[in-house]
Symmetry: C2
Subunit: 221 residues, 2 copies
DNA sequence: TAAGAGGTACCACCAAAGGGGTAATTCCAG
DNA sequence: CTGGAATTACCCCTTTGGTGGTACCTCTTA
């Protein structure tokens, strides 16, 4: 990949995908102030955007989240499925936690808010073109909360479990069958079954698979 | 909880837990410049820290990560287990991703780096005392990466699977037994078993539990 | 047309998981 | 000291899961 796009080399090519023509115009004019950046294509919807990405192979794609029919997250997934390896920066008004998390999990290389200062946007786009992940500062707290919220407010309650039961949950979540758990803990398989039986009751789950899924999601390890 | 600690009310009480006496002295002197903040106790290790927290019930605990014997994360867990509901802000030199993520998952209300400007620290501590989560700006990118890293570079390969098999994996990862999967897909349980048999071979896994764990970690949904 | 992949369905067999019960030990708290 | 929780172990039993095999149908591709 060509990451010599700043300095003296050719400017970084950018594809704008946004259903709002006025905003595209504004962003384009702004970007043209910077000789290191160049808008090579625009699109107003997901399908055109994917096509344009495949045609121009831009260094950077600036992607709006809020679009009719196919939203930005879906568009991002489509791009990745089509093999587009451009850096994709989400550019949107939404500071909604779900959007941010979904975008990042879908493989976004950045998430910028539309209310940022123009100079700051240029700054961030240049950084992004160089391969840096760019995130609006305002989202820091939100990201931190997203990380820890995975641990809070879930279904079953771990507090009612005995130490032995928690230990066995970890081994179940590691994919071990009862026989191996027994060997590892130097107890009989029958005893392991007893513990499993008890923890299933306490957690109100129906099988060790549900236990494993729950434990993994809960980050129990 | 009393979150009237700024303005005219009594200053926010702070407990320092750090094994470095000089640093405690420095931070304390800094904090005393701010009439809204007050250091009410100090501790140089985890046990003393927990004891001090229980005794003084401070509004805010400033916690170092790098301590001998019992580290900051463990200390944080101990505090929570003892029922301490003070806001806990981690204050450390480590900008290591694992530390940040571990601290947040353990329930930290903030994560500040020791190299920050003194005024900035006071600023952040005041925010923290008011209930806001405070994170050093420098960690934004790191947090974003932590969120998406869950999705990259793992063992088995999903690409060899047929659409039907992927569909069944999702249902396994939802904790469903074969019988329910069959009902949901309107096929027989025997057929589901065939698919499960095939995908286990392809993924080189030994049981549906391993499939479920893998799928959840991989974010397949 | 033939070959292969994918999906469906059935069979039999054995291993694993889960539910019920009883019971011994230890250790802690009322 | 007595009762309960926790851990261990055993029993029997049913359900679920996983493996091997054969078979038929549809589509796509060589």
């Amino acid at each position: 990949m060509n990451d010599m796009s700043s300095e003296q080399g050719s400017p970084a090519s950018i594809l704008l995908i946004d259903d709002h023509p006025l905003l595209r115009k504004g962003v384009k004019q702004l970007i043209e102030l910077d000789t290191d950046l160049e808008v090579v294509a625009e699109a107003s919807n997901a399908n055109d955007g994917v096509a344009a990405a495949l045609e121009h192979e831009p260094d950077l794609i600036l992607l709006d989240l809020n679009m009719p029919e196919i939203n930005g997250i879906e568009t991002l997934k489509m791009l990745r499925e089509e093999g587009v390896d451009s850096r994709v920066v989400v550019f949107t008004v939404s500071d909604n936690e779900e959007d941010v998390v979904a975008a990042l999990k879908a493989g976004a290389d950045g998430y910028l808010l539309k209310d940022m200062e123009p100079e700051e946007l240029l700054n961030n786009l240049n950084q992004a073109a160089l391969g840096k992940m760019v995130i609006s500062d305002r989202l820091t707290t939100l990201l931190a909360q997203a990380l820890q919220s995975k641990r809070t407010a879930k279904g079953p309650d771990i507090s009612s479990l005995t130490p032995r039961e928690r230990q066995i949950i970890k081994l179940i979540a590691a994919g071990l069958p009862n026989k191996l758990i027994a060997r590892k803990l130097s107890i009989t398989e029958g005893t392991v079954k007893v513990h499993v039986k008890h923890l299933l009751k306490k957690l109100n789950l129906r099988s060790r698979v549900e236990v494993a899924v729950w434990a993994v999601q809960e980050g129990i390890k």
